[in-house]
């Protein structure tokens, strides 16, 4: 199984200036090879945002969708050059985006990984470390680290 959390899946210095543009860039990222139908995947992520926005706190958003437009789960992380407006829980603009795409049927192993990342993000210390992380390797390490 291809590892999902690797520095290759981190893009720094994204220049997108809107939420939709960020999602578009991340879905079309060359490492997101699991996506068979990018337009559909982008639509699915945007639909989820319209339903319940995924903006979290301190400039972090976790857009995600479960869609037949992807063949394998993919995690793509983007750090923006300039924060963009996003509906977040604390009103902050977003500069760190963790996008998760999963196929219609998700394997338990992948769900456990997502649950692990989700659990990490519920920890304030992890959020602080994530904001401070500057390189792809550091960002991945923060998300993987267990307490």
């Amino acid at each position: 199984m291809t590892p999902l959390l690797t520095p290759n899946n981190v893009q720094l210095g994204l220049t997108a200036t809107s939420m939709a543009a960020v999602i578009d860039q991340l879905v079309r990222h060359e490492q997101t090879e699991a996506v068979s139908a990018p337009d559909e995947a982008i639509a699915a992520v945007l639909a989820r945002e319209a339903d319940v926005p995924t903006g979290f706190v301190q400039g972090i958003a976790i857009p995600h969708a479960k869609t037949a437009a992807v063949q394998h789960p993919a995690i793509v992380i983007g750090r923006l050059a300039q924060p963009v407006a996003w509906t977040t829980l604390d009103g902050s603009a977003v500069d760190t985006v963790i996008m998760i795409l999963t196929p219609a049927a998700v394997a338990d192993t992948h769900l456990k990984l997502l649950a692990m990342i989700a659990g990490q993000l519920a920890d304030e210390a992890v959020i602080t470390a994530l904001k401070a992380a500057q390189t792809p390797a550091e960002i991945i390490q923060v998300l993987e680290e267990d307490e």
């Binding site: 319940v52 979290f56 969708a65 479960k66 990342i117 989700a118 659990g119 519920a122």
Partner: protein, 106 residues
Amino acid sequence: MKFVAVAACPAGLMHTFMAASGLKKAAKKAGATMHVETQSASGIEDQLTAAQISEADAVVLAIDVNIEGIERFAGKPTLTIGTNDVLANAKGVIAQLTEMGAQANG
């Protein structure tokens, strides 16, 4: 205080687990017991037992969608919120539950 919770979100991926984790951490900090059942893309995990529900002082449903087995909580002091409410302020949720539990017990 003893609490039980159910977490569920539309995709059953991230928010369910973030809410579950947030509730557990906040309860632990407050010195309370918290059992969380997740209803996610992988089905029901950590399903609450009848004893856990019976012993609970209060129930929190952190849900953005309809859940299975909501009738199990009939008669219990129940706080129904969205997963984002937990993500935004888990500590506040625990405080509210503590108050509800104290009132129910008093």
